[in-house]
Amino acid sequence: MTKLHVSTVVNGDPVEFLADPGMTLLDVLRDELDLTGTKEGCGSGDCGACSVIVDDRLVCSCLMLAAEAQGRRVATIEGLAQGGHLHPLQQKFLEHAALQCGFCTPGLLMAAKALLDANPDPTETEVRYWLAGNLCRCTGYDKIIRAVMDAAADLRQVRV
């Protein structure tokens, strides 16, 4: 099968790659672009470990073909910290001990970022339902929810 040439922007940088038509965006991020921060937990869109943001939409990268990234902007966990400084979400996750094994953490951080971009003042229920697509087996979600709401409060202050 002939590979497709794809031009896209990943974490703000122009990127080109060749992809088999059947390759997913997740495959390309991990295997072609060496961005292994995005994880595969299930390959079927049920766990959220592969979450990235494409054109400001939170998506499962295992449910997108690599070819669909043509002309789009992709944001992964590797682009969340800027210039050596952690994003408030990352900082709050650490302060609240909102990670144990850390495997679900990249996906959760991207999902939380998309949440706060869309809704800067979510209730606990809204946070829980928005993040329902991100499975965590270690934490029971308690500290994750607290970290997200604390980061939301911080970010609201900055905006004001």
Partner: protein
């Protein structure tokens, strides 16, 4: 050595232990930099894939791999014939013992495939697509055999027999006919029959649970390389790099020193990664191919081919006096082992009545093989299942007696000086304190609304100590590296660094904790059994104390004073000789001068820690039931636990909350569902339903600290206890809400609606 806690009272109060610093590996984990099992690539690596049996039970008549081998791009193909025969030998893994021959046959089948998903062949090729095609070209001829899944069906005399050489052990006479019953264990004391006859009140129940999976989000993954000279490298995510090394060596017939295993970060294990599935296959493929081989399981493979824990039948009978004293207990446990012997029924038997001081009891356990994946350890293996039955029965007893459920437990609780049901005499336990903490919680006295119910349950786990090695090195600028052999599953790097820093008297950010490969640190048992903070922590403290003693000696040398005239305080040597008045020498000062005082400053400690403190948990759960749909909402959850000493309270809370979440999932929605052919129907996260964020409320963790004097800071293991009570806590809450005792897990909505419909009146 320091196995007594009072030194902390004598010196200044703790500065770091008990606080909540940010974990040292945190930046890597929140930026995606941390490398897990599937994140490493070796130059020239091939892709390895496994061909798995589609039959739950079958004799492997022949395997033809010729077409697969001939496919361009395929570099290696292996079957069971490529692996040596392994002698039957038990190996202590820390949580449970494994039979190495069974483990080897589980890695790749020999004469029989014993479950749908059992590995029968593996290939390595230059791409995933070619590897997949190669699998489809392998032709396996099976003689399909009848299969058996249910534990009682497997015990029946007419059941299909998995192993022709299995003759039940542990009974009065050894049977002459093979069966699926590996062994029966029995323990007891007193005269239960008489005690039951004399009891005022008797409750009985039969409870059933299904197989459930640990559900770690990271599938198994490894990269392995077998070089031409027989030196092997393995990168894998596991709960113990030494365990991986041992099992690979045994399965492949190698010396352990010819394998170096580097631990990747691990994306969850909960006991399920205390064994190997892929690593021996990857090594065998690499040997044939002459290239490294990378293997990553799909989620489907994780469910179908790695160990869940047992499904089980639990029979409980309790007899009590009118005042609530439990005088007799009879517990029978029938556990699925999966395809090979070794369910956690033994541990379940030992923990079943461990919370209570009962004079007369019998506990019988049956280990039974079934055509399902070989079970692996899952967080307090066996204990949650036994506790489900016992704690529901205790709840029924409390109702029958008209007693408060916590009061009934307090009346019968084990306390210091009591001989445990499983043998040892309890010392320094905090069960009564934990019961009191639950009873005094705001939760316990909060009012309930319509269709709501509250459940209480207790739980116990032994926790283990075991073998650990730690090395501690002081750099020339006084910064410190502490090296262990325990993968960091839940934040243990932080805890190790905290304990080292506390002992050395330096700020935590001067101490870096590293997890080393098998060639770079001495032996350590797995990260499991709730042992790391206790045993490896003990070794860390001892190594730090050795370094402190060394630092004092060097200061004495530098000042030319007697050794006992030097005190170590807040990271510096203080001179106690009144005739001299030098400035204190900091760790950095002494390190900078180390060449003059004896050379590098380093200490290593290897130990086999004893005296791990058992843990107790008491949980309170509120649920609301929708009576028309049977849907259960968990409204509120409080988990009190005796933790000894919370070294890093946030990570201790995290263990409690995580264990609760798994237990809630086990109670409400998780189960292995098989079709009539013995194939798993729900081998994915869509229909294997673990709790999602919107399913749970905040989980209040109450940490009760009754110190374990055998640990330098009083710590007890904490990771496993929290999964033990939730099954019954939820079931008892449902009982409270709907007035019906549900005994079959999971308590899914259709079952609850059916129970309500069947309710009289």
């Amino acid at each position: 050595m320091s196995d007594v806690l009072d030194k902390a009272d004598v010196q200044s109060p703790l500065k770091i232990v008990g606080t909540r610093p940010i974990r040292p590996d945190g930046a890597d984990k929140v930026t995606g930099r941390a490398a897990y099992g599937a994140d490493l690539n070796m130059p020239g690596q091939l892709v390895g894939k496994v061909l798995r049996s589609p039959h739950a039970h079958g004799r492997i008549v022949s395997i033809d791999t010729r077409k697969a081998r001939a496919l361009p791009g395929v570099k290696a193909v292996v079957t069971g014939a490529d692996f040596p025969d392994v002698a039957s030998e038990m190996h202590e893994g820390g949580e449970a013992a494994s039979n190495l021959r069974d483990l080897a046959m589980n890695v790749i089948a020999r004469e029989k495939a014993l479950y749908d998903g059992h590995a029968v062949a593996a290939v390595a090729a230059v791409s995933a697509a070619i590897a997949d095609e190669a699998l489809s070209l392998i032709s396996v001829t099976y003689e399909v055999l009848p299969h058996v899944l249910d534990v009682e069906a497997a015990m029946a005399p007419d059941a299909p027999v998995l192993h022709a050489s299995m003759f039940t052990e542990g009974q009065e006479t050894r049977p002459t006919v093979a069966s699926n019953i590996v062994k029966r264990n029995r323990m007891g004391r007193g005269d239960p029959a008489q005690a039951f006859a004399a009891a005022d009140v008797v409750v009985e129940g039969r409870y059933t649970t299904q197989a459930v999976h640990q559900g770690y989000i990271e599938p198994h993954a490894c990269v392995a390389s077998w070089a031409e000279d027989g030196q092997c490298e393995v990168w894998s995510s596991s709960q113990g790099q030494f365990m991986v090394r041992t099992y690979c060596a045994k399965v492949l017939g190698l010396e352990v020193s010819s394998i170096r295993v580097t631990p990747a970060e691990i994306g969850g294990g909960f006991g399920g990664k205390t064994t190997v599935y892929l690593e021996p296959l990857a090594l065998a493929l690499s040997r044939q191919a002459g290239h490294p081989v990378k293997m990553v399981m799909t989620r489907d493979e994780v469910f179908r081919a790695t160990g869940p824990t047992s499904g089980a039948v639990i029979l409980v009978k309790l007899g009590a006096k009118a005042d609530g004293t439990i005088v007799a207990a009879d517990v029978e446990l029938k556990f699925q082992a999966g395809a090979y012997a070794g369910s956690p029924v033994g541990a379940a038997s030992m923990t079943a009545l461990a919370c209570y001081d009962i004079e007369n009891f019998t506990i019988t356990g049956w280990d039974v093989v079934t055509n399902t994946p070989k079970v692996a350890a899952y967080r307090a293996p066996g204990a949650p299942i036994a506790a489900f039955g016992v704690e529901c029965a205790i709840d029924d007893l409390a109702r029958k007696l008209g007693m408060d459920p916590i009061a009934l437990r307090e009346k019968n609780a084990v306390r210091n000086g009591v001989k445990a049901a499983y043998g040892p005499t309890f010392q320094n336990i905090g069960f009564l304190e934990t019961l009191a903490a639950a009873r005094n919680s705001d939760h316990y006295s909060a009012p309930l609304g319509p269709n709501q119910g509250r459940g209480v349950a207790a739980g116990f786990w032994f926790n283990v100590g075991g073998e650990s090695t730690v090395a501690l090195h002081v750099g020339e600028d006084g910064s410190v590296v502490v090296v262990t052999g325990n993968p960091d599953i839940g934040g243990s790097r932080a805890t190790m660094a905290m304990m080292a820093a506390e002992t050395l008297g330096v700020p935590m950010d001067r101490v870096r904790a590293r997890v080393a490969d098998t060639a770079s640190i001495g032996f350590s048992m797995v990260t499991g059994g709730s042992r790391t903070t206790f045993a490896t922590g003990m070794a860390v403290v001892q190594a730090a104390e050795k370094v402190v003693a060394d630092l004092k000696r060097r200061a004495a040398l530098t000042w030319d004073v007697a050794a006992d005239k030097v005190e170590w305080r807040d990271g510096a040597a203080i001179c106690l000789d009144p005739t001299k008045d030098p400035k204190p020498l900091t760790l950095g000062d002494i390190a900078a001068n180390s060449a003059m005082t004896g050379g590098p400053i380093s200490a290593q400690v290897s130990l086999n820690a004893q005296g791990a403190g058992p843990g107790f948990g008491v949980h309170v759960c509120d649920v609301e039931i929708d009576p028309e749909t049977g849907h259960v909402t968990v409204l509120r959850y409080t988990a009190a636990q005796d933790v000894g000493k919370a070294i890093h309270p946030a990570y201790v809370e995290g263990q409690i909350q995580g264990g609760v979440a798994q237990g809630v999932g086990w109670a409400l929605n998780e189960e292995y569902i098989f079709d009539r052919a013995g194939k798993m129907e729900n081998a994915g996260f869509l229909d294997y339903r673990v709790p999602v964020a919107s399913d749970l409320p905040m989980i209040d963790a109450i940490m009760v600290e009754v110190a374990n004097p055998r640990h330098p800071f009083g710590a007890k293991g904490v990771g496993e206890v929290p999964i033990v009570p939730p099954l019954a806590a939820v079931a008892n809450a449902v009982r409270g809400a709907i007035g019906v005792r549900m005994t079959d897990l999971p308590l899914s909505p259709p079952k609850i609606r059916a129970a309500l419909d069947a309710k009289p009146g």
